[in-house]
Point group: C2
Amino acid sequence: MELRQLRYFIRAAELLNFTNAAAELYVSQSTLSQQIKQLEDNLCVSLFDRLGKRVRLTEAGNMFLSHARKTLREADEGRQVLKDLVDLKTGNLTIGATYGLTAVLVEAIAVFSLRYPDVSIQIIFGSTEYLLECIYTAKIDCMLSFMPVQSSESLEIKPLFSAALSLVVHQSNELAKRRKITLRQLARIQLALPARSYSVRNHLEVALSREGMNLPGAIEVNDINTLLHLADTGHWSTVLMSSSLFNFPSLRAIPLEGTDMQRQATITLPLGVYRKKSLVALSEIIFNKS
Amino acid sequence: MELRQLRYFIRAAELLNFTNAAAELYVSQSTLSQQIKQLEDNLCVSLFDRLGKRVRLTEAGNMFLSHARKTLREADEGRQVLKDLVDLKTGNLTIGATYGLTAVLVEAIAVFSLRYPDVSIQIIFGSTEYLLECIYTAKIDCMLSFMPVQSSESLEIKPLFSAALSLVVHQSNELAKRRKITLRQLARIQLALPARSYSVRNHLEVALSREGMNLPGAIEVNDINTLLHLADTGHWSTVLMSSSLFNFPSLRAIPLEGTDMQRQATITLPLGVYRKKSLVALSEIIFNKS
DNA sequence: TGTTCTATATCGATTATTTCGATTTATAAA
DNA sequence: TTTATAAATCGAAATAATCGATATAGAACA
């Protein structure tokens, strides 16, 4: 049984005239006749009663007709789904991001989901290492992180913008107007810091140890949003990438002085595999925003 | 798109290994690879990401998989329906009959529907001429009537049993013990006769006119069962084919004397068209009974 | 009743497609 | 690196689909 045979059978059953059906299907009457016979042989039943010139559906033919139609309809539906996928009318996009890039991400998907409301979006936060693993195992379609731009056979890493490791203070804070601040000055501030699982914390620790410093016991939180809320009270300050400020108009990010304080925000996509259209659309939005 | 390609695709998607899938499908890896590529070309999307040795479903491949499965399942279901039809687990049987053969018919379909409860049965009563027309237009699958046995190119007419035009009386009637009765004697009996639309009535009229007789005004009913009920009261008698007695133990059929009083009950089936299995089964039951 | 017309079946030849085995290419594992 | 393994590709062979011509058989008509 092949779809071709079902197509031929259906038209023949509808017209009850092999010659006309063959003409409509752009094949010879002989071809149609043979293909239908082959289908009948395959099914071990007659689908038509041959009454000389005339043909008529048998009971079997009549019952099979609806299934043949449904089979073709199902196949067409499969086709349509793929077409919709290409047209971004369906599908799924899974984006990985480190917390520091929440702001860019939120802005981008706001635009994206407005433009393509039928594409469902999943966001996975995690460390750069974890997300990289996810890229390789195709758990995510792309990732936003502070990955260094580097050439790779299997990854395309594109720079978005540069962000600075910054002290985040409330606008009422005496330091709020500063253009920059040294690491030494941090020690004098009431700090709430991101947990060690965050790359920004690691980045900060490396910078401190390079100066032979370490910070006094500070509040440690494993949620960036909570840190921002703490800072928003004015009682605490925190250290984050400048890009992490989002929706907190009262907060100010003051870049830390020193080498290697700038980090490149990047979007990373797998290379050498089919790139879904929704991914291309999203990454274009991210670029236009940054 | 052909079912073969869907079959190959599904197994390949399940195993994510073309070599193994090809082996299971008893084709070469080369064949599978080419057929899948052809399917992809046809659909204008990649279904697999090729990662050197490894393959992985794309989003499109994943979405298409379920439709491919459903398509094949639907095709299989069509197959199954035909198998069920052959196994008499489904289907429809439409039987035409003249009223005189109700008894045989009822007995036969009682056995049939017990044995094949899933085959639905439709019964159409009508004149022999009407039923014959129905046979030709395939409205009915077979007919039970008093058709004369004759050879025909398009009909198979098989004798069932012989029935006599008979006077039907209650067992309490003085004539009940008679072996036969003449037409002349009918005139002296209180008769309820079948309406002129019944062939049995026509048969009787022909016999009477041959004798130069006609019956005095009698009750005329267009329902055989009602006639039998009337006879069962003992107040009336009626004239029917002997085979029409059914479920009335108190009634007796006394054959009418004269030429051409015997008629052959027959089953008529169309010739030269596919004969459904349920029809073969039913006609066998009818033969075993008669 | 025969004649013509028309629709399906069948046949042989042609063309297209599928399949295979061998080879190449790429990558994962050792 | 080398080795092993899996998919892609290629050309040849096998298979299947298609076609045109023709045979066959009801239907329509005189």
